[in-house]
Amino acid sequence: MSQAAAQRLEEFLGRVPYVRFLGMRAELAGDEMTAILPFAPHLIGNVMLPALHGGVIGAFMEMTALAQLSVIAPSAKVHKTIDITIEYLRPGKAMTMYARADVRKVGRQVANVHVEAWQEARDKPAAALRGHFLLSGT
């Protein structure tokens, strides 16, 4: 299972051009995935602070949810986002960001996913996302 999961994750990350644009990667420990967004200058939204762009943080968490879904709800097609709510808790510093997705429910058509992103400490989240995703058939 875990080797197949790793393969599905690699496939998803390698297949989606926008994942490469962000420079995002992910690691699996069993079925628990940690997404990693190494800092890069093109991710900055505020040059003065400097801080990561809020949209980048949102996009990173959205792609984290989709990557986690690619592992636990495999499909030949990319699942589609229905809605997301992003809460910004702390400015994203000019350093690596991490995120983990918690798939709360996988239904017949829709999955509900919560994501939390952090930088220096897991208990000091930088942002959170809740979303619904339309599952593509296998």
């Binding site: 989606v16 051009p17 980048v56 949102g58 997301i84 992003i86 809460e87």
Partner: protein
């Protein structure tokens, strides 16, 4: 704010218009921004970044009137109505319809061809940062 922000320029954002309360930005289609390689449709994440950015632009357009120095997103809710057309540019327009002393409220929508047929809509709240008294 559109061409000078590194992420906005990396995504190739182009300012269409800005006036008090309102802003509009174009995000040109590019191969590397695709989210679904089967269809060539631009990634949801790009729409997220675009809507966040255009909301910030609409808020900033009221900085003189509101007397604040800068702003940061508190929350952003996005509903995706449909995928963009394949290889289509996406335009987003935002309206900052309410400013209080501390908070700005914004609505935005993104579309490819017809503003009346949106790809996504957004609702956001921003915190306003003032100079220390």
């Amino acid at each position: 704010m559109v061409e000078t922000v590194p992420q906005a320029s990396a995504l190739g954002f182009k300012l269409i218009s800005v006036e008090p309360q309102r802003g509009s930005i174009l995000s040109p289609w590019r191969e590397e921004l695709v989210g679904d390689p089967d269809t060539g449709v631009i990634a949801g994440g790009v729409i997220t970044a675009l809507l966040d950015h255009v909301c910030g632009l609409a808020v900033t357009s009221r900085s003189l009137e509101g007397g604040f120095l800068s702003t940061a997103t508190l929350d952003l809710r996005i509903d995706y109505m449909r995928p963009a057309a394949a290889r289509a540019d996406v335009t987003a327009s935002a309206h900052c319809y309410k400013l209080t002393r501390n908070i700005a409220f914004v609505r935005a929508h993104a579309f490819d061809a017809d503003p009346e047929d949106p790809i996504a809509t957004a609702q956001a709240a921003f915190i306003l940062k003032r100079a220390a008294p």
